[in-house]
Symmetry: C2
Subunit: 110 residues, 2 copies
């Protein structure tokens, strides 16, 4: 388990926060597939994700620019997955697109 390492700013972060329904059918596989696909997209820089046992999930993906984010948004499989998400897997979610202006990393012993 590691954290995403990203290039120097500026770049973009897409912050997706969500609460799940109890319907887990197909969710895990689709989430894995979206991760696989995202990594292949133009301008993808990395992703960090956590789901708390109490139900809050946060996924932050990092992108070179807004055009790359728009292009990923239009991807057919991604669009279908988002529709399933609204119909079955999520009670609610928020999506924020933000320009990273400053970033720092720290590691034990560094």
């Amino acid at each position: 388990m590691t954290l995403s390492s990203t290039p120097s700013p500026p770049y973009y972060a897409v912050i997706f926060t969500s609460l799940r329904t109890d319907d887990a059918d197909g969710y895990g596989l689709t989430a894995e597939r979206m991760m696989e696909l995202a990594v292949e997209q133009e301008g993808f820089l990395g992703v960090d994700a956590a789901r708390d046992p109490d139900g809050v999930g946060i996924t932050v993906s990092y992108w070179r620019d807004l055009a790359c984010i728009a292009s990923w948004r239009k991807h057919g499989e991604h669009t279908a997955a988002r529709n399933s998400g609204r119909q079955r897997w999520y009670r609610c979610f928020s999506l924020r697109v933000a320009k990273v202006e400053r970033a720092s990393e720290w590691a034990e012993g560094s």
Copy 2:
């Protein structure tokens, strides 16, 4: 359990991603205290947090502007907590400051 509701952009997000050590002593109380204090700060707009059972934690806090973020950073108790974090609770972390340009929310039945 709910997600943070924030005003219309622009505003700022501070994205804190981390991996914990096995040392949990004092961590929970300090995390709770930091949450209590953050809520009282000028320009604080909200916070979402999740820690995955596999160890990745993500906390995203939302702020009116950079001055408010800088002021919270200088708060004495917060500075002390960050020092303890580096000494005891975190293996590594990343901090990103990002300007939220677009945001949307969705909820079941909405």
